[in-house]
């Protein structure tokens, strides 16, 4: 299905590299059946698939080759995330890629190779509260909202101006199930091993943008299912896709997705082109705000358009809405990111 509106802001070379990444996803991201089967269990994802992802170079996709990564860009990471989002792949790739970026920047070389190979699962525990974009650096603070934390082998924490690594087994962890079938982990963490310094905010931005892309992939997948439903379901002796009210709701859904794709791909291109810190962060904020909001609107519209069937757990559209509930706030929700966009992005002089 072509979902492009206009031409994405990528050069032909990049577009080709992005296509290759998308193709490489096909083996793992091939529908939601696997995600469905893993729901509501701990750790909720597959160690085998994790190793496969390592083997494909995904965990270090955007890590420099010098540090053992694939050395690709943000655009490729977003394309991959989008494909994972289509199939609701549960492995914590975005969270682990965040850790890999931080470890690489810090010059860590012990756990990083194992993480990149899919032998370790290192998740970054940067958050001590909901609704924040500011990493917590207090060593004694409880760390919260770590997605799929039950499967982590290590946690990476900003502490003071250092990064600390701690083994998962040394932490006091509780896991709360989420509606997407995954879970969020709350951690009390002992002192860990310092592994160097790294700028955290740019790495969080890349995770936020990848999350936006994951949501985008999910939106397109659930919308495609919904269009199929509209094209086949009959009521009142007619295909329901002939009812203008449903057609227009579908058209509105398409608009949300188109805006989301434009924002996500523009931000990815800008980061890859070396946008200034504020400019890049502002674009990420706009993209994540759009994706967080659009994912909910699209998810809701699709459930509504599918009627009673859309409200059953058996039907896949509901899976996407419940994933959006979890990912819309991850790495910052819409209101938070819009406020940051405004703070970072001065307006042109008045004409």
């Amino acid at each position: 299905m072509s979902t492009e509106a206009g031409i994405a802001p990528f050069s032909e070379d990049r577009a080709e590299s992005i296509r290759m990444v998308r193709d490489s996803a096909a083996g793992i991201a091939d529908g939601v059946a696997r995600a469905r089967a893993l729901r509501f269990s701990l750790p909720g994802f597959s160690a085998d698939v994790w190793r496969q992802m390592g083997g494909l170079g995904w965990i270090g996709l955007a890590v420099p080759e010098a540090a053992g990564g694939s050395g690709l860009g943000v655009a490729e990471m977003c394309a991959l995330s989008e494909e994972l989002g289509r199939s609701l792949v549960p492995e914590p790739l975005i969270g682990a890629a965040l850790s890999a970026a931080l470890l690489a920047a810090a010059g860590e070389a012990e756990i990083l190779p194992r993480l990149l190979a899919g032998e370790a699962v290192v998740l970054t525990a940067w958050q001590d509260r909901a609704n924040t974009l500011t990493p917590c650096t207090d060593p004694s603070a409880t760390r919260r909202f770590i997605a799929m934390g039950a499967g982590a082998t290590h946690f990476l924490l900003p502490v003071g101006d250092q990064l600390q690594l701690v083994e998962a087994g040394a932490c006091e962890a509780t896991h709360e199930l989420t509606h997407d079938g995954g879970h969020l982990t709350t951690l009390r963490v002992p002192a860990g091993r310092a592994v160097g310094k790294a700028e955290i905010l740019p790495a969080l931005d890349r995770a936020a943008l990848a999350t936006a892309a994951y949501l985008l992939g999910g939106m397109e997948a659930t919308f495609a299912l919904t269009l199929d439903y509209l094209r086949t379901r009959q009521q009142f002796g007619k295909i329901i896709g002939t009812f203008q009210a449903l057609q227009h709701r579908a058209a509105d859904t398409k608009l949300h997705i188109a805006l989301c794709r434009a924002a996500v791909e523009q931000a990815a291109a800008a980061l890859d082109a070396g946008a200034g810190a504020d400019e890049g962060a502002a674009m990420v904020s706009r993209a994540k705000a759009r994706a967080s909001e659009a994912a909910m609107l699209v998810g809701q519209a699709c459930v509504q358009l599918c009627g009673g069937v859309g409200y059953t757990d058996d039907y896949d559209v509901g899976l996407y809405l419940r994933k959006a509930m979890v990912l819309a706030p991850a790495y910052g929700g819409a209101a938070l990111h819009r406020a940051r966009f405004m703070a970072l992005s001065p307006e042109a002089e008045d004409a």
Binding site: Q127, A130, N131, R144, F145, E176, L177, T178, H179, D180, L184, Q234, Q235, F236, G237, F243, A245, L246, M296, Q300, V303, Q304, G307, G308, G310, Y311, T312, D313, D314, G318, L321, R322, M325, V326, A328, P329, A330, G333, A334, A335, A339
Partner: protein, 388 residues
């Protein structure tokens, strides 16, 4: 004898409305099981039957039924007060299809034998009813239903499938709309049939919904033999009978209770999340609150119609649209406020009041069930606005 125990159903109608309200309130507060207040999900029979029997024992199970059939014989105003008090206290909804749907229908259209047989068994809790209307290909277009009942001797033979049957797994009887004349225009060949769910050939399959709850079921009928005596009203007139009952549903679905409950929860969540100072929140909350109060005002105008014993017009569809979409908006704000807690399956911090995801998901189908909001808007544009 104290004021509560001393008031028998016969005496209730003599009380003024406010005294009646206080009598009801005090009894509910004393009698209702505390652990069942504001249940996060629709309860199963095993959970709510103690409360059912408490109501039954008190004689307060069926507020709208006439006294002679074992009801409370309340007029419209007192029925509304009674419902308001149940809602106010956060009482769980019973398996009430026998009480609010079937009972009134049998009283109005049933034979004397049917009344004598079925009504006492509802009052006693022996029969727990569910409603078999929707079918997989007859949701919005209910009248296109195809489950058939073919006469064969003293019996009908029923074949087909129902869906979205609320709590069918708890029920031992089901009332069905069935097609008894395949040749007639679609509304005209439908009859109303009562079926013992222990009859061979019936299979119930729960549907898990987005809440991971089994509130709805599919019910399959494979050559199910039903005595002809279980037909209610005239043959092929079932559609009109069912439709008359649905007008009750339309005001019920327009009641502000869901939105009011959700708004209270939103306020509690906002306090917990400390968002009153957030620029968007105060104005969003104020908007929800005004929307709710205006809905209450509009609802009150329809309640007044019922109180005066007048029929509800097609415009009552307005209430259902307004209430369900407000309910959804309020719960959408909940998720925004909850931030990273928005996806949690269990209430936050074990506090049942802080369950944004639960409320959000419960609000989703409110624009689908009871006639989708698209259908309601069709009704308004055609039957209220006179558009072609």
């Amino acid at each position: 004898m104290n004021a509560i125990a001393g008031v028998e159903p016969q005496g209730l109608d003599l009380l003024d409305d406010e005294s009646f309200r206080m009598v009801v309130r005090r009894w509910i507060e004393a009698a209702y099981p505390a652990e069942l207040r504001n249940p996060p999900k629709r309860l199963h029979w095993a959970e709510n039957r103690p409360w059912y029997f408490k109501l039954a024992e008190k004689g307060w199970l069926c507020p709208g039924w006439p006294l002679e059939h074992g009801g409370m014989g309340l007029g419209p105003t007192k029925q509304i007060v009674f419902t308001e008090e149940l809602e106010r206290h956060g009482c769980a909804r019973c398996n009430d299809h026998g009480i609010i749907m079937l009972g009134p229908l049998v009283i109005r259209y049933g034979t004397e034998e049917q009344k004598a047989h079925f009504l006492p068994k509802i009052l006693s809790g022996e029969h727990v009813w569910c409603q078999g209307y929707s079918e997989p290909n007859s949701g919005s277009d209910l009248a296109s239903l195809r489950t058939s009942a073919i006469p064969d001797g003293d019996e009908y033979v029923v074949n087909g499938q129902k869906i979205w049957t609320t709590l069918a797994q708890d029920a031992n009887w089901i009332f069905l709309l069935v097609r008894t004349d395949a040749a007639a225009k679609k509304q005209e060949g439908i009859s109303f049939l009562l079926v013992d769910m222990t009859t061979p050939g019936i299979t119930v399959r729960p549907i898990i919904n987005l809440e991971m709850h089994d509130e709805f079921c599919e019910v399959f009928f494979d050559n199910v033999r039903v005595p002809r005596a279980n037909l209610v009203g005239q043959l092929n007139k079932g559609w009109d009978m069912a439709k008359a009952l649905l007008s009750f549903e339309r005001i019920y679905l327009g009641s502000p209770r869901q939105s009011a409950y959700a708004l209270t929860r939103l306020r509690q969540l906002a306090e917990r999340m400390n968002v009153w100072e957030e620029p968007f929140f105060a104005s969003t909350y104020a908007r929800h609150r005004c929307d709710l109060e205006d809905l209450k005002a509009l609802y009150g105008r329809y309640v007044e119609v019922l109180k005066r014993g007048q029929p509800l017009g097609a415009d009552v569809s307005q209430l259902k649209i307004i209430q369900s979409e407000l309910f959804q908006r309020i719960t959408e704000t909940m998720l925004e406020v909850a931030g990273e807690n928005a996806g949690l399956m269990e209430p936050m911090e074990g506090n049942r009041n802080l369950s944004p995801a639960g409320q959000y998901i419960q609000a989703r189908p409110s624009t689908i069930y009871g006639g989708t909001n698209e259908i309601q808007r069709n009704i308004i544009s055609k039957n209220v606005l006179g558009l072609p």
